[in-house]
């Protein structure tokens, strides 16, 4: 009983300190949760918090304990945010109470992550990073409330979200130009070309030496240095961006497919030979499935590469639309909130596509050891 009791005590002390001590200063008056809200409300919150802490510390089921800790963290965060928002702009940085609250939140998140590890709630290992990411977002929002960070430099997450909603038509046009017209076609084109060429090199072994040499020549060229040349050749519009994205995604896919095709063991090759299987049959039934994990990992890497290629190619010339163009031009004008909005849109899409490829990977190559925990 010692461990849970100690953790309950520690949690209680942290929460008490967070509530009693000042979060920050409003003018000359210290601002704390205990002083600002109605006594009854604070008492109710504290009671719920302590109950949740007790469940987390003494409860039998780890999932329940983890959920209780998460609920406690959310309550404490809401209390803190409510107090700060109702008081108005702060000056002078965080008070001790804020620091204790942050410590409590970090402890709760770490505790729930540790509790949840290995349970069904944590399938795929995604819960702990997600919690941590939300914690980072919350701390960011808190920092913008407590410190006088200039809004142009680092806006709060809520402000960025507001900007995305406000500027949606522009951002949508940018998204279509960069992602739908350039990054995705480039990704598909480059990956397909890399795949096809790798299979051709595998089929016609005589080509392989020449292509290895050409490939290593091409690989050393920083593709982004080719971007301005592509713009001069193919014009300002999406065609040059497709070319850059395709070039960036070609080589990783080519190397990975080559490595995957070489990964077939001698046993399998001999077996197919004993069946008098043709090259095409061996390829389709044995060698391609074995190469799939390599291909998928290259595809995963190619998603951000295609986005980067399309966005950076826009620095060298674009019709006045495009995510890369938006970021560069608005950064030059110092309107950072639109910059952050565009970054958020680009990152969100990149993450989504990466996750989608990861999901496809897991569905198709479910047999691979890397998917077992």
């Amino acid at each position: 009983m010692k461990g849970p009791a100690l953790s309950f005590l520690a949690g209680t002390l942290l929460v008490a300190a967070a509530i009693a001590l000042p979060l920050g200063m409003v003018g000359d008056l210290p601002l704390s949760i205990g002083r600002t809200l109605e006594t009854a409300a604070v008492a109710g919150f504290i009671a719920v918090l302590l109950a949740l802490l007790a469940i987390a510390a003494f409860g039998r089921w780890r999932t329940l304990g983890a959920l209780a800790l998460i609920a406690a963290a959310i309550l404490l965060a809401a209390l803190q945010m409510q107090t700060l928002r109702s008081a108005g702009p702060q000056t002078g940085g965080p008070g001790l109470g804020a620091l204790f609250a942050v410590a409590a939140l970090v402890a709760f998140v770490l505790g729930s992550a540790a509790l949840v590890a290995g349970t069904p709630l944590d399938r795929g290992g995604g819960l702990a990073p997600l919690l941590f990411f939300l914690l980072v977002l919350y701390l960011w929002e808190l920092a913008t409330l407590l410190y006088a960070i200039p809004r142009i430099l680092l806006p709060a997450p809520s402000a960025i979200y507001g900007r995305i909603i406000q500027q949606w038509p522009t951002l949508q046009a940018d998204f279509v130009q960069t992602v739908v017209r350039a990054a995705i076609p480039g990704l598909v084109l480059g990956s397909t070309a890399g795949f096809v060429l790798a299979v051709a090199v595998d089929r016609f072994a005589r080509l392989s030496t020449a292509f290895q040499i050409l490939g290593s020549l091409l690989a050393v060229v920083p593709i982004l240095a080719v971007a301005p040349i592509m713009v001069l050749w193919l014009g300002f519009d999406w065609q040059s961006k497709v070319a850059v994205a395709a070039l960036m995604t070609f080589f990783p896919m080519f190397t990975a497919t080559g490595a995957g095709l070489r990964a077939t063991g001698a046993t399998e090759t001999d077996l197919m030979q004993s069946y008098a299987a043709s090259y095409g049959q061996t390829l389709r039934l044995v060698r391609l499935p074995i190469a799939l994990p390599y291909i998928f990992s290259a595809l995963k890497l190619n998603v951000p590469a295609a986005m980067v290629g399309a966005m950076i190619a826009e620095f060298f010339g674009t019709p006045i639309v495009g995510l890369g163009f938006r970021i560069a031009s608005e950064a030059g004008r110092l309107s950072f909130d639109i910059v952050w909005a565009a970054i958020a849109v680009a990152s969100a899409f990149s993450l989504l596509l990466y996750a989608a490829v990861g999901l496809a990977d897991r569905l198709v190559t479910f047999w691979h050891p890397s998917h077992r925990n």
């Binding site: 020549l217 920083p222 240095a225 980067v308 890369g324 950064a331």
Partner: protein
């Protein structure tokens, strides 16, 4: 027909391979030069029409290889441009390619060293604290899927506003690109010693620091060097991108912008060649270091 096992190298020894390489390179150069003719033909025609000059076939072909702003420069034109901007221009002048190469190299080196240090520190942290790895590693992976290079302009401008010196503004971009492959590679390497060896160290009552210094770090070296090669290539590209928004002052990225805005094809190709050379040299140096450090230790864990 028996297939050769896949890992047997092509027939012939090193000399034959070198000959094939030369043959391929020669074929590439010839094809490239021939390709210049159709690609620059339109420009030559326009130029001849403007000057009201009739060109014979031979003159036409020679003209496609000698345009000042060609669509596709011939190899000798690129070599000539490199020669002109390195040897025939004063060293301190911003028109000299070496000036820009040095600017890029400086930033890339600083960023590389800082990035490797950060990657190493993260790997050490992850290896000793499993919880940290479970939480932070997926976050870092997600961080890498964000097209960070495309955000580089904003970061550079923001840091410029915050008062950071120019070199470090660009170096931060390089660090964010470089630390991730180093972290991944070092985590694998630091965990690579066989459990039997770890047990042996524990039976000697070795402290974690001793285990780190005497077992884990030496075992991680064969993993570190390929990661360093990737990191060097990333460092060069990141530096070039980081130089793009700072208004084209110095460095290969700045040179690319200048060439792009003014349509100077030869400058662009020369800069591309310089950037490739930088990357190749960096990777070759890492390969050399790898051979120096790793070959004396034969048969170690």
């Amino acid at each position: 027909m028996t297939d050769r096992p896949r890992d047997v190298p092509a027939r012939g020894g090193a000399l034959s391979n070198a000959l094939v390489t030369l043959l391929v390179l020669g074929a590439v150069l010839v094809l490239w030069t021939l390709l210049c003719i159709p690609m620059n033909a339109a420009q030559v025609e326009r130029d001849a029409a403007r000057r009201k000059v009739e060109l014979s076939a031979a003159d036409f072909v020679l003209a496609t290889w000698a345009m000042p702003r060609p669509m596709l420069p011939a190899p000798h034109q690129i070599v000539g441009e490199i020669w002109k901007t390195t040897v025939l221009t004063p060293i301190g002048s911003p028109r000299n390619l070496l000036f820009h190469i040095w600017a890029t190299l400086r930033t890339a080196l600083v960023g590389l060293v800082a990035g490797v240090a950060l990657g190493l520190a993260l790997a050490l942290w992850f290896v000793h604290f499993r919880l940290a790895e479970r939480i932070a590693l997926p976050l870092v992976v997600c961080f890498q899927t964000i097209p960070l290079l495309a955000i580089a302009p904003m970061i550079v401008v923001a840091m410029g506003n915050a008062g950071l010196p120019q070199l470090w503004q660009k170096a931060v971009i390089v660090v964010t690109g470089v630390f991730f492959p180093i972290t991944l590679v070092m985590v694998r390497g630091l965990r690579s010693p066989a459990p039997a060896l770890l047990d042996l160290m524990r039976s000697y009552d070795a402290s974690p620091l001793a285990i780190l210094a005497k077992l884990r770090l030496p075992a991680s070296l064969p993993y570190l060097f390929p990661g360093l090669k990737v990191a060097v290539a990333i460092a060069v590209v990141s530096t070039i991108v980081a130089e793009l928004p700072t208004g084209a002052q110095a460095g290969l990225g700045a040179r690319l912008l200048v060439g792009s805005y003014n349509g100077l094809m030869l400058t662009l190709w020369a800069t591309m060649a310089a950037a490739s050379l930088l990357a190749v040299l960096g990777v070759a140096l890492v390969g050399l270091a790898e051979r120096l450090v790793l070959s004396p230790r034969r048969g170690s864990a």
